[in-house]
């Protein structure tokens, strides 16, 4: 089980790096924000897999906080820009 989780975590890291390309390439801010969202979700997947593989229940809370921050980031981008230059 441990090796399965570690292999899956490596696979998720590979798809995270694909997300980085989107962050660099994205023409508009919204595309870059979606790249960051992708990193967030994949990061949560990696954290959960490592929590079970390494037997560290604390990583579940880290994944929870990561999910919260990813949600706030998307909302912050769209709301802040509506008010125009701060």
């Amino acid at each position: 089980m441990k090796t399965l989780a570690l292999i899956a975590a490596l696979a998720l890291l590979a798809s995270m790096s694909l997300g980085l390309i989107q962050v660099l390439r994205g023409p508009s801010a919204a595309d870059r924000m979606m790249g960051v969202q992708l990193l967030g979700t994949n990061g949560i997947g990696v954290l959960l897999l490592l929590a079970i593989a390494l037997g560290l229940p604390a990583l579940l809370d880290v994944a929870l906080i990561f999910a919260l921050l990813a949600a706030v980031a998307a909302a912050a981008l769209t709301r802040r820009r509506l008010q125009g230059p701060p």
Partner: protein, 98 residues
């Protein structure tokens, strides 16, 4: 190869497949909104499959409940974020639709 290991192997690998599909979809799709589809749907499904694959191996049922709650939070956050980004791109000042 116990049943639980076979079950979690299948679901976790399927979940990684959906994550990869979401990432590749995000890169290859031409339009902002179609990328939004790929990102939100595929990744949430991939995370759900990974969590279902991990459920038989948690230490206590409370941890399993925490895993499911994390998935629900990611679902809600993903859907809300996608709606915000799409509405902003549609009705905003058009700087998202370069």
């Amino acid at each position: 190869m116990s049943l639980a290991l076979a079950f979690s192997t299948l679901t976790i690998l399927l979940g990684c497949g959906f994550f990869a599909a979401g990432s590749i979809g995000l890169l290859r799709l031409p339009d902002l909104f179609s990328r939004l589809h790929a990102l939100t749907k595929a990744d949430n499904l991939g995370l759900g499959l990974v969590i279902i694959g991990l459920l038989p191996w948690v230490d206590s049922p409370w941890q399993g409940l925490k895993l499911v709650l994390i998935w629900l939070l990611v679902l809600l956050a993903g859907a809300t974020g996608a709606h915000l980004v799409a509405k902003r791109a549609l009705r905003g000042d058009g700087e998202d639709l370069k």
